[in-house]
Symmetry: C2
Subunit: 102 residues, 2 copies
C-alpha cells in the first residue's frame, strides 16, 4: 500500500471507530425519540408517554422489537410501531444502549 | 342511633378512610409486584424486567390494562397478563398511583 494511502486510512480510523461505537450510533438515532421522550429520556411531553432514560437495557431492546414487530397494541403502540419500523436489530441495540445510559 | 353505635362508627371511620386511600390500597396490591420489580420499583430481579418506580401515572395505567386485556404479547407479557388478570380498573388506578409515587 502506498504511504499516502496508509496515512489516509489511519486518519479515517477514528471516524470509523466512532461510528462503530454503540452509544454514539444510538445518540444519533435518539434524535427522533427526544421530541416525545425528552433529551434526558425523563421529560415526556405527554403524561401517557413513559420515562425511558436509565431503563434496563434488555427491557428496552425487547420493547422496541415488540413495537416494531406489532406485538404491542393499543394506546400509542401504533405510533411507536411506525417509528420503530425502519430499525434493524443493530439500530435497536445501539438505541437501547444510549437510552439505558441516560 | 344509640350513642354506643355512633362511637363504634367513629372508631371505624379512620380504617374506612385508609382503605379508600388509593396509595394505601395500591401499596397493599404492590406486594405481588415487589418480588420481581423490587420494593422500590427500581430493583428488577432480572435485567429483562423494567424499572417501574416513579414512572408516569397514565403510562402505568395504560400498560397494566394492556397486559390484562392481552394487548401486549411476547417476552414476559403472558406472565404480566396472568398477574394483571384479576385487577379491576380501580385496582389498577390504585396500583399505578402507588408505583408512580415510588
Amino acid at each position: 500500500m502506498p504511504r499516502a494511502a496508509l496515512q489516509l486510512l489511519m486518519l479515517a480510523l477514528p471516524l470509523a471507530a466512532a461510528q462503530a461505537d454503540p452509544l454514539a450510533a444510538g445518540r444519533d438515532k435518539y434524535v427522533q425519540c427526544a421530541s416525545c421522550h425528552g433529551s434526558d429520556g425523563r421529560s415526556a411531553v405527554m403524561p401517557q408517554y413513559p420515562k425511558i432514560g436509565g431503563q434496563n437495557l434488555e427491557y428496552l431492546i425487547n420493547a422496541l422489537k415488540a413495537y416494531r414487530d406489532g406485538r404491542r397494541q393499543g394506546t400509542y403502540a401504533a405510533m411507536m410501531g411506525l417509528v420503530a419500523k425502519p430499525l434493524s436489530d443493530e439500530d435497536i441495540a445501539n438505541l437501547a444502549a444510549y437510552i439505558a445510559s441516560l
